[in-house]
Symmetry: C2
Subunit: 495 residues, 2 copies
């Protein structure tokens, strides 16, 4: 693969001066050592230095910066807390990173209509904190929720353990103010939080568009009443099939738990080593959380326990206090970070499969692990078939990182083959561009590109993300990345 | 306003011949007297004869027809059962109507994954019928559900009385096969019913796009388990404020009833005259339906009744059997059609307001009724602030139809002024184009137009709908329609 042409640098010193005038000297970062903070997000094995970082304080400032970008064709990348796992806020060369951390006000709380109006820099848990005393909460709960921001949640259509019952971010955003790539400011959905608005569902297409259609500067979120009761059951199984069958039985019975999480043996071991949650040593751990009126939760938990018993659970623990429940969740929420306890390096993946394909896909993953000699740990949102396989490897062993990467993409292809998808909640970003053409046919991608151009004809809003590009698929930070044959074929199909 | 140029007629005899070859002689209607069936939908005061009607039997036939339309720039309008209330499937001059009634197969039922795969001509209740025996149902329930089809439900993002709890069509469609205006066929969302897919949410923007982005030829729908218990309470109030406050109290308590409907005195009288539902004579009738586990429903119904009593309900009737419940709903579902009992003519409108604005908006509607001398009947989905005001009039009185129409648009403007929207579930279609520019600013409409062009650069998919056009706003079947000053100004803003 030949070296691509270098990206043009339209961010000249003169444009930088204009930028400084717009946001003030304290709103601009252009020193190399300070810019380093922004060279990657949660996907740390991809790094690019931005041309500049701006930290606007108002919608008007964001609009001014984006207008400037439009005028000079300078690419921009919006950034929240930088916790994304797919490289969605990874800078592109000579771009302006628009950091939204200063837009962090809760503008209004209207509990009579169950609405909270926020700026994008407010953290996910910040929304719940604002309404907790009155008995409300904000439902989407990505694992990074104490740090990650609403703007990033919109960009990635963030989910979390409880989206089985409550749905993704898109379900909870009633409207958002967006700065378009032209610099124009508009509302998608309803500023007043009305549920349905006429015309195209532009909020729908914007949410989850990974920063490629504009920058959200405000959002009207729906908050929910805290349920009367919450109970969490932890059940230990000796087979993955037993745990998976329990999940199917629960759903088939008509119950909708607020969460159903599974962890495999490696994940359990790692979580135990890291946070001492007191998990039983088993092959598959199932965590079922029910919430709702106490009478309902009690009645349903009896049924859940019967299913667990029927499918071979040899230990069941019911957490009923907040403290007990917090301990159960602590292990699950720490599972990604805990992987460092059992492996020097790891890649977190994020695929989706039809729930009923779980045993089949897991069996194939075991084979793939044996074939490659690389361990795969698994943590799932089992209720909606969202897998988080983690490929464990050692970067110091020659070639192992590349083999791990190839395996992780092969797992995503396996998900697609099973009728699933290459991402449940982390997004495509930079990480999964290579498998986009395995998921989608050329006309699908072309249609998405036309939608992109409808918003961003100059391709300046988070370019080089989401869509497959040969340049990025051939490129790796550590040089010698050899494209996988399927992947290379996929790219050739499109371009 | 000057007369617009006549639409070009690209549907020449030669193109008609090609069309006949594609769908066979029995798949084409081109006789004037047979075409009359298709000259309007549920919005009967707008009528246009189509150039031809085709009745394809497969996706491939739909794609062939649309490809032909693309080749010769012939406009096409997809049509399900023709029950839409905003003129969404009203033909445009010299267009081809694509009737989807023959694409009426249920392709597969996969209850293990709660999915049903259907063609667009399947009726809404047809989906529930296919899964009822196994204890499942399809949630969206427009009043026309026994007749209207899934294709039309997708086009309009249909709701219904139970969308307060269950959400609109968009919540229940996991994927759909679409023939784009180019004739290309593709899947938006997941063919296999996986919940989240990467890239833009094209299913999201397609659903509710009123036939302007393509034709759905298949859909994967989510079906739900029938709840264990359903109870319906009918409560009679002497003031609208009492009923509205009860709705607010119920929501504020954290309950989410499956439906909360309100009817005013005129609607009650009309429904009684038509179907003898045995409703009490009162100013405001509130219908609250709870569903879920029996224990939960029992506990919550006690609370609902307390709120009703507190807010002055002088009669409460609890329907607990299917038969009792059916009678309660019969009056509500018949309310639109029953209007003929109390008025020779009427216009059904469909606006949305923040739930808490209900008393204020109703008070203003009373004033508007007094000012114009025209009666306004009201039926609402009160839980989500979706109003269905009906303006009653007599066509035989000179000028009254135009005054009724102006009043009905003024009501929609009132909804917008209250922070709401001009349609909750009926769509904009042809009927509400005039008020689109009151709801949206020019950049909003321009953005939607760019999205439209991304799908349909030739503007052949259901053109002259959804977006405001001066031609349509100045035009009426009965000639002398005088544009309202605000409306005229709105148009001028855009064009």
């Amino acid at each position: 693969m030949s070296e691509p042409n270098p990206a043009p640098n339209n961010l000249t010193p003169a444009v930088l001066d204009e930028l400084r005038t717009l946001v003030g000297p304290h709103g601009l970062i252009a020193e190399q050592n300070q810019l380093q903070t922004y060279e990657c997000d949660g996907l740390t094995n991809f790094r690019t230095m931005p041309g500049a970082v701006v930290l606007p304080r108002t919608t008007a400032e964001v609009a001014d910066v984006v207008s400037l970008c439009a005028k000079y064709a300078v690419p921009f990348v919006a950034r929240g807390a930088g916790t994304g796992l797919s490289g969605g806020s990874l800078p592109t060369e000579h771009c302006i990173v628009i950091g939204l951390s200063r837009l962090n006000r809760i503008l209004s709380v209207d509990l009579e209509n169950s609405r909270v109006h926020v700026e994008p820099g407010v953290t996910n848990t910040g929304v719940t904190s604002a309404v907790k005393a009155e008995g409300y909460f904000y439902a989407p709960d990505p694992s990074s929720q104490t740090v990650c921001t609403i703007g990033g949640n919109l960009a990635e259509n963030a989910g979390g353990a409880h989206c089985l019952k409550y749905g993704f971010t898109t379900t909870h955003v009633l409207g958002c103010e967006v700065v378009l790539p032209s610099g124009e400011v508009m509302w998608f959905g309803s500023e007043h939080g009305v549920v349905d608005t006429p015309g195209y569902d532009l909020a729908g297409v914007f949410i989850g568009s990974e920063g490629t259609l504009g920058v959200a500067t405000r959002a009207v979120l729906r908050v929910l009443r805290k349920p009367e009761a919450v109970q969490t059951l932890l059940a230990a199984f000796d087979t993955t099939t037993g745990a998976a069958q329990t999940v199917s039985d629960i759903i088939a019975s008509g119950m909708l738990p607020s969460a159903m999480e599974m962890m495999d043996r490696i994940s359990i071991t790692a979580a135990e080593a890291a946070v001492h949650a007191g998990y039983p040593e088993c092959t598959a751990l199932l965590l079922v959380e029910l919430d709702g009126p106490l009478a309902e939760v009690n009645a349903q938990m009896v049924q859940v326990r019967e299913f667990c018993t029927k499918n071979g659970a040899w230990e069941q623990r019911l957490a009923q206090t907040d403290a007990e429940r917090a301990l159960v969740w602590k292990g699950r929420k720490a599972a990604f970070a805990a992987m460092g306890r059992v492996s020097p390096n790891y890649i977190v993946q994020d695929g989706v499969i039809p729930r009923t394909a779980l045993p089949r896909v897991l069996a194939r993953m075991d084979e793939m692990s044996a074939e490659t000699g690389l361990r795969i740990a698994n943590v799932f949102h089992a209720g909606d078939g969202n897998l988080h396989p983690m490929v464990l490897y050692d970067r110091t062993i020659e070639g192992e990182e590349d083999r791990a990467l190839i395996l992780s993409y092969d797992i995503l292809r396996l998900c697609v083959d099973a009728g699933g998808s290459i991402t449940g909640e982390h997004g495509v970003g930079r990480e999964k561009q290579c498998v986009m053409s395995y998921q989608f046919h050329e006309p699908d991608l072309a249609t998405m590109q036309r939608v992109r151009r409808a918003f961003d004809p100059q391709n300046i809003a988070n370019p080089e993300k989401l869509f497959p590009t040969p340049r990025l698929c051939g490129e790796r930070r550590h040089g010698a990345y050899i494209p996988h044959p399927v992947e290379a074929a996929g790219i050739a199909e499109v371009f």
